[in-house]
Amino acid sequence: MNPISTSGDWNFELLERYDESIGKIAKGDFGLDIYPNQIEVISSEQMLDAYASTGMPIGYAHWSFGKEFVRHEQAYRSGQRGLAYELVINSNPCIAYLMEDNTMAMQALVIAHACYGHNSFFKSNYLFRQWTSPDAIVDYLVFARNYIVQCEERFGIERVELLLDACHSLSDYGVDRYQRPRPLSADAELARVREREAHAWSRYDDLWRTVPTRAAKKREERGSDFPEEPQENLLYFIEKHAPALEPWEREVVRIVRKLAQYFYPQGQTKLMNEGWATFWHHTLLNRLFDDGRVTAGFMLEFLHHHTNVVTQRGFDQSGYGGINPYALGFAMFRDIRQICESPTEEDCAWFPDIAGTDWRKVLDFAMRNYKDESFIAQFLSPRLIREYRLFAIADHDENDYFEVDSIHNDEGYRRVRQLLAAQYNRDHLLPDIQVTRYERGGDRSLVLRHRRHRNRPLNEESDRVMRYVARLWRFPVRLEVVDSDGDNVAVEEYRPA
């Protein structure tokens, strides 16, 4: 067959033809299940805008987004960093951005990577299915922005900004990890807000304030052991129970919480998601080349970008920034395919279930049912540990040195794999902080408990975060620190300013 195009320039007709060819292979030959694509061509300036709002097409105004924008702009203008080639939004239809400065080969790469790779991951991975509502996200963003604009008009930009600052600092703690959230719906949210307000207005009568109510009595009778079980979703607890928040403030807390929840799966599947998308752009474009649909020049350009993306520097090389999720993720998916197609003796010993089976089924199963932590624990092979020369270093408090814990040898494979998987565990990054007590009948104080993960203390900034919590709560907030065994280490009290 003839190549689709031979020059580096793109136009909309070519984009459509490439998309059609790639789509045919992706859906027909490899059975990828995707949302419809909405591919938008934007300028580099607009890409910077999109960056600043974490890729969201619409966002409310906040200074921190301005900061991000300036940071990216600075890096881009000074040439320290190029722009990412692509940005894709987990929505239905799946929105992907193409930058106008890209060459044709780049556009094709981005289409394969984002519109078929990421897209299918968003649609099928269990975390995304459980945690996000791609049908409703864009509507919800519109709702959120309008609501916050209204609040700014009614209560002043400064008050809203302070509230958002406080909420943002807790946005990692706005997720119930073990409970499926209700799906988003902008209409339902709006109806709920209106109803709540209308109800408050219609019921308002200043006289009631002076009448001693039964509720007040009941409150006194309530025991102090509330909540019954520790709550890990701090923002949810604040939204529902903060004693002195006004209704609109609760709504803003809710908006930040809902958006944080939307991003939760992204953080849990970074390596898998990027690995999956990289694997597919590599596979799809190679197939195009095999079919004679693209030229060798196209392939060279593509491979140049591809190798840049999947470069993994060693710990002692300059520019090392930890494990590259594109590189390891890509390597793992390819490795699984190899284990399926041409297993070695070692593979058969380590992966008896999948060695020699249909690689498409195994890959599809892995993509659907795992997150980074479990994916590595399950599928990282000794071959890759050797290839990457992974090694583990132990940093223990009682030693004044680091110790090499394990390396890529027979004794070390399982240990390295287990430690690397643990590195992708959420607890590794986020301290475990939960609400343990709310003195509803007493001084209305709130107690948060930080259970130290392997004796690791909190960072210095936590102090500021706690002051934010106190500001949201409006009553004293105590932070209890306990060690891994649950023994009390320290208590600190923060009072609202």
Partner: protein
């Protein structure tokens, strides 16, 4: 299945509002940085905008994270020489304990956030909160300039102001009303035919004219006199300080007035009007007679800048090193002749190292107590901007 959309023509400055919020929030930081920049820059590119650095920790958004300490393991790629059990010295605590193995994080040590201010933002911050003293009087006081302004319509006027559409509207209304009366009469059985024919298409009462009135306008032009002592005792450094002050005042006035004229008067024992280049660069030596400059200024005002048409500002810089009767005479002349004509007069005293607390001219000028006369001491570059701010601080209760 895929839809392509060209968004390149959409709004490109979606984040502009966020950037603005950021500037608003860190105004204090930015203003401090701006004043540092001003202190170090030459006059000509004072206006250019520029890079501002803010400490990263001041703009960090806090979040709960693990701190330094406790037990942990880290997995890294690229092992070449390590075996299990090898010990590695713990690296110095740099960058909050992010020590990765024995690798020192290169490029991680970014401790300040660089922010580029546009020229507008720069000037905004630079002149923020500053206000022209007594500008209020300019607005309220005698305003000689007037501007024609449309003010509705009248029934009389000159033919050239005739408003055709309005006139025809009125005509139509009148005709409908007149015919209505005729129809009512018809229904009552009267013969209205001759009357109906007599409703004229256009009548004198239909005519409408555009009306214009003259609205007094505040004078929007200013002249700024720069008076500088260039006698032998004024060294290059002192002149530089004076220049900076003049430049600031000029920048400030150009923001407030549509048109600003600059008059440079330098004096030794004899005053001369010179151009900017000559004023700032020229070298000249001689004694000091302040009076000569003041007299020249008065002459220029009389000849070219009538106070009823111009807002007159003056800034005088000198080391105050005057002798004999000159300081007293100058004070008298200033107070009686010049100050009544001026909107604002600032005197900048740049004392010499050798001089005691106050110079003769300073002592004399100090006795003038008029609200639009100010005198300040400046002894180093860094003083200029604060002194300038102090002079032009927005007065409480005075509306711009």
């Amino acid at each position: 299945m895929s839809t392509f959309i060209d968004r390149r023509l959409n709004d490109r400055r979606k984040s502009a509002v966020n950037r603005q919020r950021f500037v608003q929030r860190y105004k204090d930081h930015l203003r401090r940085a701006v004043s540092d920049i001003v202190a170090g820059r030459s006059i000509r590119d004072l206006e250019r905008g520029g890079e501002v650095k803010i400490p990263v920790k001041d703009i960090a958004e806090p979040a709960f994270r693990h701190g330094v300490g406790g037990d942990r393991e880290m997995v890294h790629p690229g092992n070449r020489t390590f075996s299990p059990g090898d010990r590695i010295a713990r690296p110095e605590e740099d960058g909050g304990g992010q020590g990765r193995g024995n690798q020192a994080g290169s490029g991680d040590a970014v401790d300040s956030f660089v922010f580029t201010l546009s020229r507008e933002e720069f000037m905004e911050l630079f002149l923020d909160d500053l206000e022209l003293p007594r500008l209020a009087r300019t607005v309220l006081g005698d305003m000689r300039q007037a501007k024609n302004q449309p003010a509705g319509f009248t029934r009389s006027g000159s033919p050239r102001n005739l408003h055709v559409v309005r006139s025809l509207k009125a005509s139509l209304a009148r005709r409908i009303a007149a015919k209505q009366g005729a129809r009512a009469a018809l229904e009552n059985g009267a013969s209205a035919r001759p009357r109906r024919g007599r409703v004229p298409f256009i009548d004198e009462v239909d005519l409408r004219y555009r009306h214009r009135i003259r609205v007094p306008q505040p004078v929007s032009q200013a002249v700024m006199f720069c008076l500088m002592d260039v006698s032998g005792s004024m060294g290059e450094e002192k002149k530089d300080l004076a220049k900076r002050f003049f430049a600031l005042l000029y920048l400030f006035l150009t923001r407030k007035y549509e048109k600003v004229d600059l008059i440079f008067v330098r004096h030794t024992d004899d005053a001369a009007e010179v151009d900017e280049e000559e004023f700032f660069r020229g070298t000249h030596t001689g004694g000091t007679v302040v009076m000569s400059a003041l007299q020249l200024m008065k002459e220029i005002i009389d000849a070219r800048y009538s106070p009823s048409l111009w807002n007159i500002y003056a800034a005088q810089a000198s080391d105050g090193d005057a002798f004999g009767a000159d300081p007293e005479k100058s004070r008298g002349f200033l107070e009686k002749e010049l100050l009544p004509l001026s909107r604002y007069y600032a005197y900048i005293d740049i004392p010499s190292g050798g001089f005691p607390a106050s110079s003769p001219l300073w002592q004399a000028y100090q006795r003038i107590s008029l609200p639009h006369f100010a005198l300040k001491r400046v002894s180093s570059r860094a003083d200029i901007y604060p002194v300038f701010r102090e002079l032009f601080k927005r007065e409480a209760g005075v509306r711009a």
